[in-house]
Each structure stands twice: as C-alpha cells, then as structure tokens.
Amino acid sequence: MGCDRTPSLCPSLRLMPSKFSVLLSLGSKSDLKQLFQTPSDLVVCTTAASQSLWCNLVMTTALQRPKPQAFADLPPPLGEVVAEYRIAAGEAIAYPVTAGQFIQIIDVEGSQCSDFLAFGGQDYSDPLDATVTRTLTGLAVPQAGLPSKAFSQAMEPLTEVMQDTCGRHDSFLLACTARYYEDSGYPGHPSCSDNFNQVLAPYGIAPRPGWPALNFFYNTSLDSHGHIGFEAPLSRPGDYVLLLAHQNLLCASSACPDDIDPANDWHPTPIHIRIYAAGQSFDRAMGRRVAADLPLRMTQDSGFTPSIRQLTDDLIEYNGFWVPHTFAHQGDQAEYWALRQRAGLMDLSALRKVDVEGKDAFALLQYAFSRNLENVSPGQAVYGCLLNSHGGIVDDGIVFCFGPSRYRYVGNCDTDHDWLERIATARGWAVTVTPVNLHNLALQGPVSRDILKTLLPEGTALGYFQFLEAHLGEIPVLISRTGYTGELGYELFVQPKDGAALWERLMAAGEPAGLRPLGMKALDRARIEAGLLAQGHEFDDLISPYQAGIGWAVAMKKPDFIGKAALEAIRRHPPRVAVGLVLEGPEVAAHGQPVFALGERWRVGQITSAAFSPILNASIAMAQVVPGFAEAGTVVEVGLLDGLKRRVSATVGPLAAFDPTKGRVRL
C-alpha cells in the first residue's frame, strides 16, 4: 500500500502479526493515506463495507518490512506494541482499542495538544464525559493514582491514566471548534472538532459542532475570578500519557491544528499513538519536574510500599513517592489515636538524603544551614533549615553528624543536593555532596520505645536528636530519635531492599502493643497539633524562619551564613509571625483563608494549616499574622467561605496547640 507523503506527515499504522483487525476497523479522514508497516510479508484484503469515501482503499505496491527505528523521534516503547499511529500536525484519527490494551499518547516535539475522545458501550454509544469524570474523581483532570479514571455518560469507566509525564491537561473546554476560529477571524480554519467529525462518520457517529474531550497537554487554568485561561503547553518532546482501556473502545485523537494562539505554542506538530498489548503491567506513575535542569522523576514505590499495598488501596503521590493516605478498615481517626495513645508506623521515604563529605563539609553546612554545628558531635542531629540570601527558607531538614568531615542532610527537596554543591563550588570548598538512597520508617508514639526494646535495645537509650548505626537482626539500620508527630519516636533508615523485612518486623513486634500503620491524613493532623512545618504551607523561599515560627533555629551568633544580613533585619521587624489559633466551634479552616482583626474588614494574616484536634477537642490552625496581633490571648476572626458570610472567632496561642513544651518528644 502506497503512501504519497512522508511518514512524518501522514497518519500511519504499524501492524504486528495477528493484529489485522486493527487495520480493518481503522477510521480516518477521507483524504488521508495510511502507512502500514509489518514485520513480515502481509496479505491485505480490502472490503468496501459502504460507499463512503473512507473505504476507497487503493493497493499500489507490495508491503515492505518496516525500517528499523521508523520513528526515531520517540522515546522507546514501554512494552509490546500492537499498533501505532502517527497523526500529522493538524489532523485526527479514530482507532479501536480492546479492553485491557494500553494507549500511549505521545507529544512528539513538545508543546502540542492532543484532544481525546472515547466511545464505549454497545455500538460505541456511550461517549466519554468530562463532566462526569470531574465529578466522580474530584479532579479537574484525571491523574495517575486512585482517582485516575475517565468515565462515560453512563458513568462507566472507559480509560484509566496509568502514567503521565506532563501533569497539565484540560477537561473543561471543547476540542477546538470552527466557531472559535471564525470568531477569531479565521473562517474555514480546520478544527479538532471538525476533524473528529470526519474520522468518526464511518462509525455512524453523528457530527457535533464541538466535541467535549479530554484535551491532553492543553495548558488551561482557572483563576480566582472564574476565568479559564490558557498558555503554551508544559509538555516537552516525548512527554506522554498512558491510558488503560477498561472496555472495548473507539477512540479518536487529534494533533490540534490551532496555530493562532499559544495552545500549541503557535506551531502545530505531530502526535504519536502507541497501542500496547493487553496483559502487560505498567507501574502507575506521574512525572515531576522540580527544576529546569533536573530530569523528569516518575512516582516511585519505597521499599515499604509493597507491604503497605497489602493494607490499603488509598495511596497518594507525595514528593515523588506513593504513600498511604489512610488504611483500609482502619481510617485516619484510628490511626491518629493509635499514634497519640500507643504507636504508629509510617513511611517517610519521600524525604531526600544527601551525604556531605570532605574536609570542608563542616564549613559548607555551617554556611548553608541555619543552626550552629560547632557543638554538634558525632551521633547527634539537629533540626534547622537551608537558607537563601534574602533569608527565605530553601528547605527545612535535619543534619546528622557522623564526624567533622562527614554529615548527612535529610530534607524534602531534590534540589537540595544541587544547592549545596553550588555553594561549595562558589566558595571553593573541598566537599562532595552525594544523594543517599535510603528509605525510612517512623515509629512514633508513647509506646514506641517499648516496641523497640525487643528489636533494637541499644536504640532505646538514644536521647532526643541522637542517632546510631546498628543492626536490627541482619538488617543494617540507622536509627534516630527524631520524628514529625509531636510524640516520642524514632526513625529507621534502611536500604530499600530491606524495607519489607523491616516493616514486617516492626509491625509484628508492635501489634501486641497496639501499633498501627499511619497514613498521611492522620500524620498531617498530628503535625499541625504539634506545630510542625510543612513546605508550601508554612514556608517557601520567600518566607523567613522568623515568619515560619522557627526563628529559634537560626544561630545568629555564627560569624557568617547565607542570609544572615537579611535575617538580622527581618528578626527586628518580621512582616508576620507564626502563631497557633484555637477556633470557636468545630468548623475547620483551610490553608490560605484570611485572618481578620476582630470586627474589622482588614486582614491581619492568613491560615497556613488547619485541622480538628481530637485530643484537644477543638478546631485548631497555624497562621501567620502581623506582629501586633501575635500576642497570646488576642482574639481574631477567621474568614470561612468568602470571609463575609461566615467568620469564626479564634484565640491566638502557641504554634503547637498540643504539648507546646515538647514534653512528650523529650520523654
């Protein structure tokens, strides 16, 4: 079968053995040619089922073996490919997919939208419905993880996002329409909706002036005024979405022809579709890009996740890892109370660890980290933060001291490693900064020491913020007397390969004492009670330690460190300071809600985190307010809803509403 256009310009289908039915049911625009590639000689039978133009197939030449690397502009296949299609810029195709197969939609050159339709049910009568999908998933766009499915009008699952390397798509707007182009002064401009109408017509699907679609890579956003805006896609060359088909589907995909605005960055380019065989296994993952110069990072399991998956299906993405949100048949309330009354076990492997070694290791951390490390001896750890030159918090974390030329920083950010290296290079310091691939569990709660006693007796002697390296059975482990819950507790760092064994041993040892696994939902409640900071809530790189509530962790007496000059000024006149609030009544505030002066229209601060505290039986919040309203006992008002319809009185108190003197962690 001939093709009078180059492969990069014409939609093409690559067939694998025994997959001929795909060829026979292919739908395409009537004026398009198809490129068929087979790994062996192929007999093609054409049957004209109707007089429609799409059936006018013309056999012109014998099929040839495909050239290897036919699509050299693509990332390698993820598995066994049974068909693939190249959609030329500005065009669209329809293609059948059977239940269990996977659809990979690849943005070949980057910055290109690909609108997607799917039809399930009998005779493809049940189309994908973005409104149903948003409603059932609670997300603007499906993403890999628990709420990952796209649903039909009949509320049946059609597809499920398995992997997504872009993370920014649209489910609100129609596939582009002729009307849009007409209104913009481009009458007759091709549109995705018209292209879909043409390729769907052979399947008896009635045309629509505009198709509601999932618009992959379309970078739309909703602002606080309700306006939907769009900009150039965030997708890079090779970015993709991998979908699992939950039923036999007719799908349609476009390479959007929009060249009159930034939707495709003004230059439409091709889209590539790969269909993978059913029965394969693909990890669920979403891609994260945390810096322009860092590679894409896909969501990963920790060494503990296989054990955790036995206990819950409710996992969420957190800082590049799948972590439990709540546990089945248990719930966050039970987890929370287990933590406060007995013990909880949680996976905190998403923390980033870097070793800082060399003769200038001390100098580097003394300069980059907020605490004074002069008196920190081997086996001790200290909490503090990495700072930037204007006194903002780059990250908060813990420095572990192994010796004067060897430290470990445990924080939150992939960029910490690069940040420390750049400082060392700029200062000419002899130091190596190396990521450490350790995963860690936190064993926390009033009976955590008792649980540990049988497994690692030497660990029970650790003082607050001390650590040691030991063996738990045959498992090498670093154990520290640290935590993120406001309870007595320990963190245990191990090689990922030892994760399952450590999890099982701790759970078995702790079960008689009432140990329960703890999810992120319960952990968040506990850390808010304890006044512990979360990045993106209490701090970012524009917020100083004094505003975030950890001014005590800044060693201003150090001769020099990053941001010292700026922090000296901020300390005297912080724009806001962190406080705790106890709200009147049970309603729970939310991040970003305003804090008003009593009876006034003007704000004095805003909520950074909030929760209902079961142990205090009160709605509590962490907030950052102007200094004049930070005194304990001051009564302010928290604006719920829009801040006009409902306000709740709140009383200022310590940042940690629960155990503000930290008596429990120092036990």
Partner: protein, 180 residues
C-alpha cells in the same frame, strides 16, 4: 432461623454533627473514622452509632433522637430517611467467629470502589458497595447478641434485591419500615 427486629435508624448531619454526637455518646464517637461504628447506649437503651463522614452519623436508636438533640440548639438536622430501608442478615447461633456468614456471598456479587474493601470487612465497619446492580451500604456490626450484616438500601430496591440473591434465601431477614 432467628428473627431480628430493627427499627429505622436516625441520621444526624450538619456543621455541628460531631458536636451533637459527642454530646450524646461521649468522646469515643470521635475515635471513629468514617464508615466505622460502635455499640453504645443512650439513656440506657442500646444502640449503634455509624460515622459516615466527619460530621454525619447514623444511629440505631429506637426512641425519639430528634427530641434529645433539639435542646442542644445546634446547627444540624436529625431525621429518619423515609426512602431508605434495611435488611438484616444475622449469623446462625452456632457461629462464634466475629464475622458475618453472608459476607462472602455478598462480596462475591459486589463491586466496591477503592479505597473501600469488602473482603474481610471487620466488625464495627461499613462499606458502600454495589451488590448485583443495587447500591447498598453493608454494615458489619453486632445485631442483638451476635455479629451480623445490616444492609441499607432504597426501599424500592429491597424486594428485588432479596429475590435476586439466592445466597440469602433460607436466612432470616427482617425488613423494617420507617416509624417516626
């Protein structure tokens, strides 16, 4: 076969739902996660409290719960849902394990959306499910002196639901109607 007679539960929901539940049943009610329940007493009358979300509860109290809540003057509603009925599937007296005998039969015909799990549903727990084509809340908790399954579903589905599941035949079923 044994008969368990039950009455229509009360539903309690609103901004002050948790406040009301704590006032009625004490602090233990706040130890429940959504879809967990506890057996308790109110004014000496045994009842079960099922938490449905942070502030919503379902209570198997035979008396006038609305009269008990009204003096609290809270922001919430208390009512019996007249469109909802209950099926009760108790264990046989010979069963000693704290599981419901009918659970495997129901689970075999049920679909449950993650993160809920019907398999090995513990006592004092509930799960929203579809059994065959019917939306059902499956609640595993003590019924009388034995654990059993209490199924909540729309009145209009109860008769067909019962007929459609042979595994339930021969077992005692108590169909309640609202009595306010």
């Amino acid at each position: 076969m044994s008969e368990v007679t039950i009455t229509q539960p009360w539903d309690l929901a609103g901004a002050d739902g948790l406040v009301a539940a704590r006032a009625l049943f004490g602090e233990p009610v706040d130890h429940l996660a959504p879809f967990q329940s506890m057996e308790t007493e109110l004014e000496g009358v045994p009842c079960a409290v099922l938490r449905l979300c942070d502030r919503n509860f379902r209570i198997t109290y035979p008396g006038h719960l609305d009269h008990r809540v009204a003096p609290l003057r809270l922001q919430l509603w208390v009512k019996r849902l007249d469109w909802m009925g209950r099926l009760v599937l108790p264990n046989s007296p010979s069963t000693t394990a704290p599981t419901a005998e009918s659970l495997p039969a129901i689970a075999a015909q049920a679909t449950v959306r993650a993160p809920h799990r019907l398999h090995s549903l513990p006592l004092h727990s509930a799960v929203p499910a579809h059994v065959a084509t019917f939306p059902v809340l499956v609640w595993h908790h003590p019924l009388g002196d034995r654990p059993g399954l209490e199924l909540h579903l729309a009145h209009r589905h109860i008769e067909n639901f019962y007929r459609l599941i042979p595994a339930f035949k021969g077992r005692s079923v108590s169909l309640t109607t609202a009595s306010s």
